[in-house]
Structures are given as structure tokens and as C-alpha cells.
């Protein structure tokens, strides 16, 4: 298996405050990897550092290519779609405009039209609401829209920041099922940050645990799920 994302000795800073203290991890092509950790451990910062949205040092390679000091939009254009915390929905625009924005860097008109239909097949509720302002959607619908918008890029890697946040348990189940399907069928590699460790470990094939800006554990999702410490700290039984 080839490595798609390789992160070495990543350190990130908010002003004077250091949030990541030398993070090293990698993600294989086709994998669905999860980053677990408590509040403030540095999960969101890790995703933001990959997209150069926070000041950082260290080496990040995507598909063998160093990202260096590329701007956020140029990193996205390489095929890294980022669904940020809070979803980043364009609330004043319609659902369909949000999907079109996801594909704004693409030039294949026919492909974009076909992909919008594909998204409506994944998320039928979006089709019902296509002309509605995105801000009027429920939290779960907005999360689906955010995932669909990210997929419109035809990404090779999707970064998801707490997709379960604020959603009802049943909605989360549905969403995760679709994420698994996207990972298998569309061959999109996924790096998902989650507080809902149980669900994330059921879905993922690989997992890392972060504590105060460092990786403290890594392994297959099964190994991590059966680890005594992880069970006590993150799964709660």
C-alpha cells in the first residue's frame, strides 16, 4: 500500500502558544484513519496545519509531494477536501450553489452536473431542498451538505473535523455509514477527527491517539479499540 499523506515532526503555533509538539503520522491510500483525543489535544489544529490555515513547521507530504508553504487554496486544488469544524456552509446561498462551489476549481461542466446528481443520490434530502437557503437546513442536513460539497472537488483525501458534532445519534449513524461507503466505493481516503471514539473506531481501519499535541498511540482500529487505556479514557467502559 502506498502512503498518501506523510506528516513529520509537525509543530503548530497560535501566536506564542505552541499547540502541536512534533506530530508524526501517515495515512495510506484508500485508508479511513481516525485521530482521537480529548478536547484541546490538537486534533483540529492538525487538520488546519495540513491545509496551511495555522502557522506550523515540519514536513507534510501529499502523494510524495512536499506541501511546503503552499497556500490553502493551492493545497485544496491538489485534491485535499477539508470539511471544517462548524461545517463552513455558505448559509446565504442555496444548497445547489453550495455544491457548485465545491466544484469551483473544476472545468468539466458535464462532470459537475453528473456529480451533483450523484450527491443527490447519496443524500436524497439535499435534492428535496436544492433551491433552499443552506442556512435553513437542520444540523444533520448541513453536515451532509458539507460532505457533499467536499466530494464535489473529486478529492483524493478528505479531512473531516468532528462530523458528529451536535447531531442526533441516529443521524450520526447514517452519516458514518455513508462515509464508509464513500471510502470504499469512491476510493476517497479519509482522515476523520472525532470525539465520538466508539463510532470512529467502528468505521476506521487505522487510528491514532493524540494527547497535548503529541501522538501517544497508533495501530489498527481493532487494536486501539481493545486497548485497556483507550477503553477507559475514550470509550468509557
Amino acid at each position: 500500500m502506498t502512503t498518501l499523506l506523510n506528516v513529520k515532526d509537525l509543530r503548530a503555533y497560535y501566536g506564542q502558544v505552541q499547540a502541536l509538539h512534533g506530530l508524526t503520522f501517515s495515512l495510506n491510500e484508500g485508508s479511513l484513519t481516525t485521530l482521537l483525543g480529548a478536547n484541546g489535544a490538537g486534533k483540529t489544529t492538525t487538520l488546519r496545519a495540513i491545509c496551511n490555515m495555522v502557522r506550523s513547521t515540519g514536513a507534510i507530504e501529499f502523494d510524495g509531494q512536499p506541501l511546503g508553504s503552499r497556500s490553502t487554496e493551492n493545497i485544496v486544488r491538489l485534491g485535499i477536501a477539508h470539511v471544517p469544524q462548524g461545517r463552513g456552509t455558505f448559509t446565504a446561498m442555496t444548497v445547489e450553489e453550495n455544491l457548485q462551489l465545491g466544484a469551483i476549481t473544476r472545468t468539466d461542466k458535464a462532470g459537475i452536473v453528473a456529480d451533483i446528481e450523484r450527491m443527490y443520490a447519496y443524500f436524497p434530502v439535499l435534492k428535496q431542498r436544492y433551491s433552499q437557503q443552506a442556512g435553513t437546513l437542520s444540523g444533520g442536513e448541513q453536515q451532509m451538505l458539507a460532505v457533499a460539497r467536499a466530494l464535489m472537488l473529486r478529492p483524493r483525501l478528505m479531512l473531516l473535523d468532528e462530523p458528529s458534532f451536535g447531531l442526533a445519534p441516529l443521524v450520526v449513524r447514517d452519516l458514518f455509514k455513508i462515509l464508509g461507503k464513500i471510502n470504499r466505493e469512491e476510493k476517497v481516503s479519509i482522515l476523520v477527527v472525532e470525539q465520538n471514539a466508539q463510532l470512529a473506531l467502528e468505521l476506521a481501519d487505522h487510528a491514532y491517539v493524540i494527547e497535548t499535541g503529541r501522538i501517544v498511540m497508533s495501530g489498527s482500529a481493532k487494536e486501539i479499540a481493545s486497548n485497556e487505556d483507550v477503553r477507559k479514557s475514550y470509550l468509557g467502559y
Partner: protein, 292 residues
């Protein structure tokens, strides 16, 4: 009654110009959250360029469109050179930048073309429009050009991908970058378009106020009043605000005793203050709410 209708129509025609200026101000405000105090001077300088082209023998409409293109490029250049480096600077630094730009453009125009008042041609003529005494052909032309411009802008923002990307960059810059939009260039494009819209306003109003370096001062204040009245966050509101301010200005000048021509400008300022006190978001703007 005829006087009343006449004043309303005259108000709509100057209001069209205020609407353009308000729209230019709102476009830059949406992109960088600052009011461009130099918007009027940029428009004035563009108007001088078109005048110079005509002096060199170019026909009106050729000069008109070349000036729009040059203004577009000039707006982008100003953003790249002056305001891109100030993007993260505090608000007062930006205000100082706008005032500097104002006086640089104003003085340069005076230096190049001097401060004497010049006649500026109208492509529409100044005969009564369709034989009616209510409105002149130039006034009708001003309204017509503005309406065409507004329709064009609406179609651009509503139906083109660049327009969609510009709207996205203005509403949520971070999300826009995350779908791969180069937000920095979208801001530059906004400046270019604002400069082009301003140049149209300048060339349309010049036959009325005559060409000289301070010609846009009053117009810009009415433009600000229009933008504030309609709401700084709403391009649609800015346009409606422009027409309302134009009508209001004319009616007040005609019917309120003692106002006349001299006191028309303070009316615009009074309007700005009243709107800010009573309804700070304007008629169509949405209040900016932040969750804390």
C-alpha cells in the same frame, strides 16, 4: 403636479448615479470591510481619462468603453499595490490609506488637467426626452445606462462561476479558500469592478456637474448616504438607497423652504446620521451578529 413629477424624474436620474457610487462602495466594503473614501476620486480620474481620449479625437463611445477597461485595470492595480499589504492592518491604518489615496488622486488630476471647470459632452443630447418637458434625453440616458449596468451585474453574480466565487469569498473567506478559491484575487477583482462602475457614474454625471477634480465630492457623499440607507451589506439595498436619496434630495430642495441648492448636501449627511441612529443595518442590510 407637473413640477412634482418633474422633480421625481430628475431625482431618479441623479439617483441612478448615486446608486452606481453606492454599489461601488458596497462592493469594496463587502470584500474588505472598509469604506473606500477615494471611490469618488477614482471615478473623477477615470472621467478625466475619457475626456482626454476625446480631446485626442476619439469618438464618445470608444472613449467610454476604453475608460471602463482602464479603470478596471487601475482598480486592480491600486488593490495589489496599496491595500493588499494592508489586509491585516488595523482599521485606522486603512482609513489613513484611503485618505492618502484620495489626496494623491485629487492632486494628480489637478496637476495634469488643472482645476478649471471643463465642459463634458453627453452622448444623448439635452433635448426634451420624447418631446416631453419632464425629463431631458441625458437624464433618460443616465437612467437607461444604470439599468443596463444593474442587469449586467445581477446576471454576472447570479449566473457565472466567477460571480459565484466572488460572492463566496465575500461572505465566508475561510470556507471559500477551502473549496479552492483564491480569495485574494477575488478582492482585487472586486476593486476592479468597483472602479469600473465608478467610472461609468463619473462619465454620466460629468455633463451635469461639469468636469473638475472636486466634481465627485458631493456625489460620493450622496453615494455613502445611499449605501448606508440601503444597508452596507446589501448591493440591492445600495441601489434602492441611491434612487431614494436622489428623489429625496430633489423633493427636499424644491418643497422645503429655505433648503434650496445650498443646503442639499447637509441633507445627505443628516440622512446618514438618522439611518445610523434609527436602523444601523439600513433598509435591506442584515445586522452582523456574532456568537460569543
Amino acid at each position: 403636479m407637473e413640477l412634482f413629477i418633474n422633480q421625481i424624474l430628475a431625482g431618479i436620474s441623479t439617483g441612478a448615479i448615486y446608486a452606481c457610487m453606492a454599489l461601488a462602495v458596497v462592493m469594496i466594503y463587502q470584500a474588505i470591510d472598509h469604506l473606500n473614501f477615494a471611490q469618488g476620486e477614482m471615478a473623477m480620474f477615470s472621467t478625466f481619462i475619457s475626456w482626454q481620449l476625446m480631446q485626442w479625437g476619439m469618438p464618445y463611445w470608444a472613449a467610454f468603453f476604453i475608460t471602463i477597461a482602464l479603470s478596471f485595470a487601475g482598480g486592480i492595480a491600486i488593490e495589489r499595490v496599496m491595500f493588499k499589504p494592508l489586509a491585516k492592518a488595523p482599521i485606522l491604518t486603512n482609513v489613513a490609506g484611503f485618505i492618502a489615496l484620495y489626496s494623491i488622486i485629487n492632486s494628480s488630476a489637478g496637476l495634469i488637467w488643472d482645476f478649471t471647470i471643463k465642459q463634458y459632452p453627453t452622448p444623448f443630447g439635452s433635448a426634451p426626452f420624447l418631446g416631453s418637458q419632464l425629463i431631458s434625453t441625458h437624464q433618460a440616458g443616465m437612467i437607461g445606462v444604470t439599468i443596463l449596468l444593474l442587469i449586467g451585474l445581477y446576471a454576472f453574480f447570479r449566473y457565472t462561476r466567477v460571480g459565484l466565487a466572488m460572492r463566496a469569498a465575500a461572505s465566508l473567506p475561510e470556507s471559500a479558500r477551502l473549496v479552492g478559491i483564491n480569495t485574494s484575487w477575488m478582492i482585487a477583482l472586486g476593486w476592479g469592478m468597483a472602479a469600473a462602475i465608478g467610472s461609468i457614474a463619473g462619465m454620466m454625471i460629468a455633463p451635469v456637474v461639469f468636469l473638475e477634480p472636486n466634481m465627485m465630492l458631493g456625489v460620493l457623499i450622496y453615494g455613502f448616504a445611499a449605501a448606508v440607507l440601503g444597508g452596507l451589506t446589501s448591493p440591492f439595498g445600495a441601489v434602492i438607497g441611491g434612487f431614494l436619496v436622489g428623489i429625496f434630495e430633489n423633493l427636499a430642495g424644491t418643497y422645503i423652504p429655505g433648503i434650496g441648492n445650498e443646503l442639499k448636501l447637509p441633507i445627505a449627511l443628516a440622512l446618514i446620521i438618522s439611518v445610523l441612529v434609527v436602523k444601523p443595518a439600513g433598509l435591506f442590510g442584515r445586522p452582523i451578529v456574532k456568537r460569543v
